[in-house]
């Protein structure tokens, strides 16, 4: 199949960006979206033009590196799918495809389609952990965890930290990401000791990074490749309130 691409190009954070028109020819429906971009990059290179920069690594939907807005939708048209797991069979021959980076002031563009998501790491640094050093942990079975709690924690912990939730939100809110981490640890007995401090610190850091507020549009849930539910946000709000009241 042949496609008409409109790819965002931007030399660096400070530069002005623009859309470059590129025709992708002879694309196989079995290719992943990133493999299609590989083909485009090989052709650009052969023509003496600089290849398009985009983030990617595992290409199996788990590392959270890939991050493209495709025709206005973070990670493209398939639900519950990262860009690297999206296949070209979901597009039509001759289709125009607009490819953009995540857009949020807390995620500045580094070059072309790659952005800086360091803000997410700083939110984790603020409290997204259980403070236990190596050694000295009690036997694994000394802390029973109900199957339900373990499943709930796992549902939240499935977050891959890609940032699609932020990219999809008109307020560029990071609530779903933060809620997932807060809920993961709050669901487990191991997370209880620091429960209140964790949510307070993580939310404070989130605000400081310049992410917007949640206005319940649920766009985040719609694009989340791991289909993490917005009800985790409600759970986090409750956690936060409880922490504030107890204070």
């Amino acid at each position: 199949m042949n496609l008409k691409l409109r790819i965002w190009r931007q030399k660096n954070s400070g530069a002005k960006g623009y859309f470059q028109k590129v025709d992708a020819k002879g694309i196989s429906p079995d290719m992943s979206f990133l493999e299609m971009l590989d083909v485009v990059n090989e052709e650009l290179l052969a023509k003496g033009e600089e290849p398009v920069i985009f983030d990617h690594d595992c290409r199996e939907g788990i590392c959270g590196a890939c991050s493209l807005v495709i025709n206005g939708v973070a990670h493209g048209p398939e639900r519950g799918t990262t860009t690297c797991q999206l296949h070209m069979r979901h597009f039509k021959d001759g289709q125009i495809i607009v490819i953009e980076p995540w857009r949020a002031s807390a995620f500045p563009v580094l070059k072309d389609l790659a952005v800086d998501r360091g803000a997410f790491d700083r939110i984790i640094q603020a409290g997204g952990f259980v403070s236990v050093g190596a050694g000295g942990a009690p036997d694994g079975n000394a802390i029973p965890v109900s199957k339900n709690s373990a499943e709930l924690a796992m549902d939240a912990a499935a977050c891959i930290g890609c940032g699609a939730c932020v990219a999809a939100c008109k307020n560029a809110s990071a609530m779903l990401f933060v809620a997932a981490k807060v809920s993961h640890l709050a669901a487990l007995p191991q997370g209880q000791v620091e429960r209140a401090a964790r949510v307070e610190r993580m939310v404070a850091q989130m605000d400081q990074e310049g992410f917007g507020n949640c206005t319940n549009q649920f766009e985040c849930q719609a694009v989340c490749p791991k289909e993490i539910g917005v009800w985790f946000i409600a759970k986090m709000n409750k956690e936060y309130l409880k922490a504030k009241i107890c204070q």
Partner: protein
């Protein structure tokens, strides 16, 4: 240089305790004055960096990804082994030790493997305490499954995302230390070289991938936890960025490279669909617990799988290995699939595939149970192939997956270059010639949480050399050389992309040094690689400049190192004239086509010393002494 593995004397079960007592300590006040560089933030690197910082050392951690959490350990699906014997099914430290030694085809060091089994239980405790959401039974205790050919249930798991959850646990511990200011994290920073001062590893040269700036970091010791080199095959289950550069550069600076020919080809991956393929996706081998592997009995049978009657199917693993059946170890299952396809009985468009069929399991257990166990894997398969595995059998084929070989390390995980420690997949230490399922995560975390934090202190206490300054001559020279290389890559402006060289190298290696190897083929590869390398340095095309994100430049640098390393891989395979584990030499097989080891001649680690590009490396041998197990033929029949 002699190879002293520094294995403690005394009974196997007491060696580690004895050594822990003998190791010199660094006082808390002095730890604050010691700087350590850790490169790589997968399970081994993140756990090491966090643990060293917890002890009070100053840590500089580096990764080429944009966040430590994205290191490729994250993609491990199946699980992590530990000798907890929670299931009361006869497991023990000794049994995990024995299974691992035997699984590695008796090509690993007894003392290291025993220690791994000893600390395996601590790892689970640590991860649980961190909040890793392991699967649970209804009573709240940890669930286990049997995995990858083990006859006991000792594998702990978090759905099909165990690697992800363990890595989140480890990187959260690391992030905590970053927040406390004890670790300086350098993401999007790639190590380009190692700096050696007076015979000791004392720093690294890096490129900041965003600014393109080349810089130097000095420390009291360097820890490499940079993963494996399976991407030398171009197509593998590794992440696109996984590479050999850090350990290859260390090798060129004096660290011996051990057993590079021990590569693992994983039996259950989604088959290649075409030339555009950039990576291969693994389907966790936990699927083999319930799926049955088969191929048509007839050659060139093009019927749909559902149209092939039961009596025309060959469940070849069950036929050949009745006691292990579909759970036969990875190397054996992979070779069996290759044989079936070589006989012309492969399935799918390319004929390079076999079926992994769940029809019987769905009949026996119901679709809901299968969905609960493997739902996410089935979804992933369907996304990639557009076929529904609940209705039609999966098609699978082996793919390069893991490197058992790596930098030679002693019992302290220190390489032959003092001050350079190597952890996880990047070292050679624990898996011998074949790694068992769910053992990689165990080893990475054992090295980082429970071994290095003890052994590295002994190095600091024994070698009180002042830390060099990062602007001293050795560092300046390293920066200049790295800068020259970048400039060179950018100035060639040839006609071929870095990827095209990588693909060609990968094809050569897969053909001649893949699942089956022979003298003639290996010599062919050894003749072809140097000319490909020569062409690369004349004809590679890298555009753009060095002062910003440039994925072509990054790729080119990694491919250049693969082009040197590939030669050592083939040479090692040529020199090891026996079959063992993942290394199958066609000249050395039993009449039934099984691997034939030669313990008289090859019961040793091959550790190679670098002598210059295009120069013959020197082979050093570390004899493997087995005092506690007897070497047997590894039979899974």
């Amino acid at each position: 240089m002699s190879l002293d593995a520094k294995v403690p004397l005394g009974p196997l079960a007491e060696k580690w305790d004895k050594r822990k007592f003998e190791l010199k300590l660094v006082s808390p006040a002095n730890k604050r004055k010691v700087d350590v560089i850790v490169v790589g933030t997968g399970l081994a690197g993140a756990s090491a960096a966090a643990s060293l910082a917890e002890l009070g050392y100053n840590v500089h951690a580096f990764c080429f990804q944009d966040s430590p959490r994205r290191a490729h350990s994250i993609a491990a699906q199946g699980g992590i082994n530990a000798a907890k014997n929670y299931q009361n099914d006869g497991d023990s430290i000794t049994r995990l030790f024995y299974d691992t030694i035997k699984g590695g085809d008796f090509r690993a060091r007894e003392a290291n493997v025993y220690r791994l089994a000893q600390v395996s239980g601590n790892i689970i405790d640590q991860c649980v305490a961190q909040g890793v959401p392991f699967a649970r039974e209804y009573g709240g205790l940890l669930a286990n499954r049997s995995f990858g050919g083990a006859q006991v249930s000792r594998t702990f798991y978090a759905r099909g995302q165990t690697g992800q959850q363990l890595l989140l646990g480890a990187t959260q511990a690391l992030e905590r230390q970053i927040g406390l200011g004890r670790v300086a994290m350098h993401p999007r920073t790639e190590m380009l070289d190692l700096v050696v001062v007076d015979g000791h590893a004392k720093g690294i040269i890096v490129r900041d991938l965003v600014s393109g700036k080349i810089g130097a970091y000095a420390a009291d010791a360097v820890v490499l936890a940079t993963g494996g080199y399976a991407n030398v095959f171009y197509l593998s289950t590794n992440a696109i960025g996984s590479n050999v550069t850090a350990i290859w550069r260390a090798h060129k600076k004096g660290a011996f490279f051990a057993n590079p020919c021990y590569t693992q080809i994983h039996p259950t991956c989604i088959p290649v669909t075409g030339d555009h393929q950039s990576k291969l996706t693994l389907m966790s081998e936990s699927l083999r617990n319930d799926g049955r592997i088969w191929a048509p009995k007839k050659q060139g049978d093009r019927r749909a799988p559902g149209d092939i009657p039961e009596n025309e199917r060959d469940y070849y693993l069950e036929r050949k290995y009745p006691s292990f059946g579909n759970l036969a170890p990875r190397d054996i299952s992979s070779r069996a699939a290759k044989e079936v396809c070589d006989e012309g009985r492969g399935v799918g468009q390319s004929g390079r595939g076999v079926y992994l069929d769940f029809a019987e399991a769905i009949r026996r257990l119901g679709k809901a149970v299968i969905k609960e166990r493997y739902g996410n894997l089935f979804d992933m398969y369907q996304k990639i192939t557009a076929e529904n595995p609940y209705e039609t059998p999966m098609r699978i084929y082996p793919a390069a997956h893991y490197a058992m070989g790596g930098i030679w390390v002693d019992y302290h995980l220190m390489s032959s270059l003092p001050g350079l420690f190597v952890l996880g997949e990047a070292n050679f230490s624990d898996h011998g010639a074949n790694r068992l399922g769910a053992s990689a995560l165990m080893q990475g975390l054992a090295d980082g949480y429970f071994i290095l934090p003890y052994t590295i202190g002994d190095y600091f206490a024994s070698h009180k050399k002042p830390r060099p300054a990062a602007d001293q001559a050795e560092f300046k020279q390293g920066e200049a050389e790295a800068g020259e290389r970048v400039k060179k890559l950018l100035s060639i402006r040839g006609r071929r992309s870095p990827v095209s060289f990588h693909r060609e190298l990968g094809r050569l290696l897969w053909e001649y040094c893949g699942m089956a190897r022979n003298d003639r083929g290996l010599r062919k590869a050894l003749a072809a690689i140097p000319s490909l390398r020569e062409e690369f340095w004349k004809n590679v095309n890298v555009l753009g400049d060095g002062d910003g994100l440039n994925s072509g430049l990054e790729r080119a640098g990694r491919v250049a190192d693969f082009l040197e390393f590939g030669e050592l891989l083939c040479l090692d395979a040529l020199t090891r004239e026996e079959s063992c584990g993942g290394h199958f030499r066609q000249e050395h097989q039993t009449p039934e086509g099984e691997a034939r080891r030669d313990d008289a001649k090859f019961c040793h680690v091959s550790a190679w010393e670098f002598k210059g590009v295009g120069q013959a490396p020197v082979l050093h041998k570390e004899p493997l002494a087995f005092e506690n197990v007897s070497l047997t033929e590894r039979s899974y029949k």
